[in-house]
């Protein structure tokens, strides 16, 4: 549409990026934190003990509790505390549907090995709610949220591919970084961040779309499966066909002891390799027990052993996947979630996510830096649109991290017996984000940047102190105890604080004195023209 492909693509890249940049930044940052969701969970429930019970004992306790809580359930699910994803013994059950329900009611509990009863810990959204926000967005109905993030992901996809096309010297530019050159430096930084983790950016965006593919492209499913309310379910049932699914016989029969079933599985896979125990129709003559192994590859579905729940006989050894398209899908989803990743790879995932977040941030800053000189020359000052982007950029790029700090603060400071405390943790996050967007209205924009960066840096820096004052698992102790979840969390907060503080200092140094001490605080001035030189 412009003269030449690269010009057209540059135009597209700019506007597509601007359109959804703020939501994408939020999605990338909260999604990145999701790679440490359970670690965050544990930090947010400091009362929880560190469990290391034996598998047999865990399963015995879980089975007893399930017998008591849901003897007539359709399904039991046990997650023993054998890996990072389930640091505490967790049970889950689903009752038979009553009346015209499609699915029965469900329940789940974290169990204390010592007592066999549910653990008592403060109510919190934990790392799970934080991670969920990156696709469910909070406050909005789920269907709407899925469509919003779907549109944003499509924009991201277009931005990535058009960005590659613009970049004729992709490898040369990768080694190019011109410091202290204002706009040019921002562009170089944006390029380096984009190129260095390009495969990750493409993978995470495309696989993100695949999670809800059937929601975004319902006609593709409908054209083969017909219209109807449960079209999607019929399709997935057929795709994920599980051979050993049996209907309930409605004849009660005593269960084979789970201990012996576990032993068979451990003989095959080795110790500590069990990820879950899935019992369908417990107490029925057609009971089935499926045992899954740990994920050791991106393939999302793991190998499974299926046993007859009454005789304890091994029925089959199910391979992890059945067909190529399903394997591709499972691999994409598995790569996105990264559940298989060990500590090193997990940190690499985290780092890649941060690079993606920074890529979006630098792209958005670049938009304003590029237009500022022109906008400042205008007689009536910058346009409304430009000012709006400036406010939303600052409010989001600093406000979302500050909001996440507020989320952690709320977890420690809200009274433990306050009923709606997990709701208010989330309100603290979004409230801070909102306030950070409004703040530049009453302050000159560059000054607001420096002040918000300092605010966020302080909020992160003080978190280990708040943790010290409100729990007994402070940094001094967690380091001595080699409690890497707590020590890692506190140290990461300090590192984030350092990063934000350095950004604040660097920015302030570049500002002329006049920008920091304006005559009237409400005067919307743009001293950045000098600032970006």
């Amino acid at each position: 549409m412009k003269n030449g492909l690269r010009q057209s693509m540059a135009w597209l890249h700019t506007w597509v990026g601007l359109g959804v940049g703020w939501i994408l930044f939020f999605m990338f940052l909260t999604g990145t934190l999701g790679y440490f969701d359970t670690e965050i969970d544990r930090w947010m429930q400091p009362e929880l003990p560190m469990e290391q019970a034996s598998l047999v004992e865990s399963v015995r306790i879980a089975e007893a509790r399930l017998q008591q809580q849901a003897p007539a359930a359709e399904r039991w699910f046990i997650n023993p505390a054998t890996n990072r994803d389930s640091p505490n013994l967790r049970i889950f059950w689903q009752d038979k549907p009553v009346g015209d329900e499609k699915r029965g009611a469900t329940g789940n509990e974290l169990l204390d090995i010592a007592t066999g009863l549910p653990v008592t810990a403060r109510e919190t959204g934990g790392g799970q709610i934080l991670y969920r926000m990156h696709y469910a967005l909070h406050y909005l109905p789920l269907d709407l949220a899925y469509w919003i993030i779907g549109v944003c992901s499509m924009f991201m996809m277009v931005a990535i591919i058009s960005g590659i096309i613009i970049h004729k010297k992709i490898f040369k530019d990768f080694f190019t970084f011109r410091r202290g050159r204002g706009q040019r430096s921002w562009l170089d930084m944006h390029n380096v961040l984009s190129v260095v983790a390009l495969p990750f950016h493409i993978m995470i965006t495309y696989s993100g779309l695949i999670f809800f593919a059937a929601v975004y492209m319902p006609l593709i499913v409908t054209s083969s499966y017909g219209f109807g309310e449960d079209t999607e379910r019929v399709f997935f049932d057929e795709l994920l066909a599980e051979e050993n699914k049996l209907e309930r016989a409605n004849v009660s029969a005593p269960m084979a002891p789970l201990d012996s079933i576990i032993k068979v599985a451990e003989e095959r896979w080795g110790k500590e390799q069990l990820r879950y125990i899935d019992v369908s129709h417990p107490g029925d003559a057609n009971a089935r027990v499926a045992i899954g192994s740990h994920l050791d590859s991106p393939l999302r579905s793991s190998a499974e052993l299926v046993f007859d729940g009454v005789t304890g006989e091994l029925l089959n050894n199910q391979a992890a996947f059945s067909s190529a398209p399903r394997a591709v899908r499972d691999t994409l989803l598995g790569l996105h979630e990264g559940l298989f990743a060990g500590p090193l790879l997990r940190w690499l995932y985290f780092l890649s996510g941060l690079l993606g977040t920074a890529m979006i941030a630098t792209g958005m800053v670049l938009w304003t830096v590029k237009r500022r000189p022109q906008q400042l020359k205008q007689a009536r000052g910058p346009d409304f649109g430009h000012r709006l982007v400036e406010c939303l950029n600052l409010g989001t790029l600093v406000g979302v991290p500050a909001g996440i700090a507020a989320y952690f603060w709320a977890n420690r400071l809200l009274p433990v017996d306050f009923m709606a405390r997990s709701d208010w943790e989330v309100h603290a996050l979004f409230g801070t984000w909102f306030a950070a967007c409004l703040y530049p209205i009453i302050r000159p924009i560059m000054r607001a940047w420096v002040e918000e960066l300092w605010f966020a840096a302080a909020a992160f820096a003080l978190l280990p102190l708040v943790n010290f004052l409100t729990t007994d698992r402070h940094l001094g102790r967690s380091l001595v105890d080699q409690d890497w979840v707590f020590a890692g969390f506190d140290l990461t907060m300090l590192a984030v604080s350092l990063f934000l503080g350095v950004a604040a200092i660097k920015l302030r140094r570049r500002l002329p004195q006049a920008a920091l001490n304006p005559a009237k605080p409400t005067d919307y001035r743009h001293p950045q023209q000098e600032a970006i030189q």
Partner: protein, 104 residues
């Protein structure tokens, strides 16, 4: 208003409408092309029904992305629209034909 500023504002208006038209073509037209070609694919792939549908779902977003990029890459708006409408109609007709033959 002098003649030259009038011409300028007319040109600006025309440019704006072209942008709107392209955005519509990319979002709606691209979505249609992605869906229709994926549906045709799901009918003709030599796999079981659920596998063919999954394969088509996996590819549909790539087709959509390419369609969007194409709309903004071509010189004229008309060409952009034609490039979406013609394949949509042809592939759609083909898909319908396949479905009818199957049913017969």
């Amino acid at each position: 208003m002098t003649r030259s500023t009038l011409q300028l504002s007319q040109a600006t208006n025309r440019y704006r409408w072209q942008i709107v038209s392209r955005i519509l073509a990319a979002t709606v037209g691209g979505y249609a092309v992605a869906n229709i070609s994926a549906i045709l694919l799901s009918f003709i792939l030599p796999m079981s029904r659920s596998e063919a549908v999954m394969t088509s779902l996996l590819l549909s977003f790539a087709i959509y992305t390419l369609a969007i990029l194409w709309v903004f890459a071509v010189k004229s708006v008309l060409k952009a629209w034609l490039g979406l409408v013609i394949p949509s109609v042809l592939l759609g007709a083909l898909a319908l034909l396949v479905k009818l033959v199957e049913a017969a």
